[in-house]
Symmetry: C2
Subunit: 246 residues, 2 copies
DNA sequence: AAGTGGTCTAGACCACGAA
DNA sequence: TCGTGGTCTAGACCACTTG
């Protein structure tokens, strides 16, 4: 671990800067699974911070699944499979990258609509408001894997309909172009059978198994919904991973 | 909030004692949703602890969904629905109770076997060891909902085959009769179609949608697997709920 | 014995919300 | 202005692992 690339005058908390630095090294592969990380006291010295701050960075990395820690031994890089599919809020693009697959998309629908009552309710808006509708076939390694239909409160991201979402991540666009951070989501998962539309677009047969997720996503205040999304995944190709705590 | 019912000489950490105390008051209903909790500085004084310790108790309650906190305002009891159906490690019985449904079971298999290679691998034992096999049809409100097939390391719960699991919870039995606490689990979720066996036992047709979960559960040390379970749920009756964090 | 993570203290300054 | 949660410091003792 090299020196102090943290900015003590930045409004970004120190523990967060350090956490992100380590996370990038893990994701970038410059730290191998099971490789030993700097100890809390080493980080303290390297970055010129207190131990509690170093500790917080490592503790959060542990709870996010990037790191495991053993008393008396040290902190270590977790195996990638343990990082997958825990309770992280990710979009399709990031999900595929976690699985070491190349993501892709073909846009089916891209327009601003007036929501029906149910959709307006899901987004906590009234039915006169504008909603951005984006429907895409999502690919993994050039193979169709899912159909994703998402609805965004258009007043929070006006102009988003002019982006081309065949090659870009929706969540990245929200973050980088509209400065919208997502804080949390509520999601349901159920099983179903492919209908004609899904069969055609995903190259499967009608009646094949499908995994359906429905998600409501909230912005930074944790109270305001911005997205309601429904995705149908090919049941033969997609499995969801969850970590449970007692 | 009344006085100092914490034991400073106990090996149980102070932050944990306080956290459990508050959790019990929330679950017991003596603290209402959206009711204000003591501030960090009030806890500090009430329990005679430092602020960082009080803070840790509240922070963990927040990450477990019991509490929400707002800067400048205070800490408040979260709504029960935000506590439900997140990634809690629960068995079928508790899951049904959370959904306000009456659970039930019919035992199909109940014996001690020698594991094949894959199963031995899942449980981190060698294939000469004994494994307890329990297969049950699970009911919700007297209707068949799932087939649950679970495998336990028999050396950790010798004698468990003599219990009647048509009327009792496996996890409760492990906890109360064998003093085994479960710490965490890794679970996968996928979609499939009902086969003949499932169709017959769950009163559905072959080819109907099914939700399949596979779970490996670990005991208190978080490293030793004790259970490998596979459950198939009727896709038309069962939906899984997940909370995601950003 | 030395190093590690786990807990804990007693302070400090800050940004934010309400009065 | 005052109380709140958010961050941070510079120490401390403990239990655990490894040499």
């Amino acid at each position: 671990m090299n020196r102090a690339n943290v900015d003590k005058r930045s409004p970004v908390p120190l523990y967060y800067q350090i956490k992100e630095t380590i996370k990038e090294k893990i994701e970038g592969g410059s730290l191998e699974p099971h490789e030993r990380l700097p100890s809390e006291r080493e980080l303290e010295e390297d970055y010129g911070i207190s131990r509690m701050t170093a500790r917080r960075a490592l503790t959060e990395l542990e709870s996010e699944g990037y790191v495991y820690r053993e008393q008396g031994k040290g902190s270590f890089v977790a195996e990638p499979k343990l990082r997958q599919g825990l309770l992280q809020l990710t979009g399709f693009t990031e999900d595929m990258k976690n699985r070491q697959m190349k993501p892709g998309a073909r846009v089916l629908e891209n327009r601003v609509i007036e929501p029906d009552e149910e959709l307006a309710n899901n987004l906590s808006i009234d039915s006169g408001s504008n909603v951005f509708l984006l429907q895409r076939v999502r690919f993994a390694e050039e193979e169709p894997l899912a159909i994703e239909t998402t609805h965004l409160r258009y007043d929070l991201c006006e102009g988003i309909k002019d982006y081309d979402f065949s090659g870009r991540s929706l969540y990245t666009t929200l973050r980088e172009e509209f400065n919208i951070t997502l804080s949390r989501a509520e999601q349901s998962v159920e099983a179903s059978l492919a209908d004609e539309f899904e069969a055609k677009n995903l190259q499967v047969d009608q009646g094949d198994p499908m995994l359906i997720t429905e998600r409501t996503t909230y912005i930074g205040d944790e109270k305001t919904p911005i997205e309601y999304a429904r995705s149908t995944y090919r049941g033969d190709r997609y499995k969801l991973f969850v970590k449970l705590k007692g």
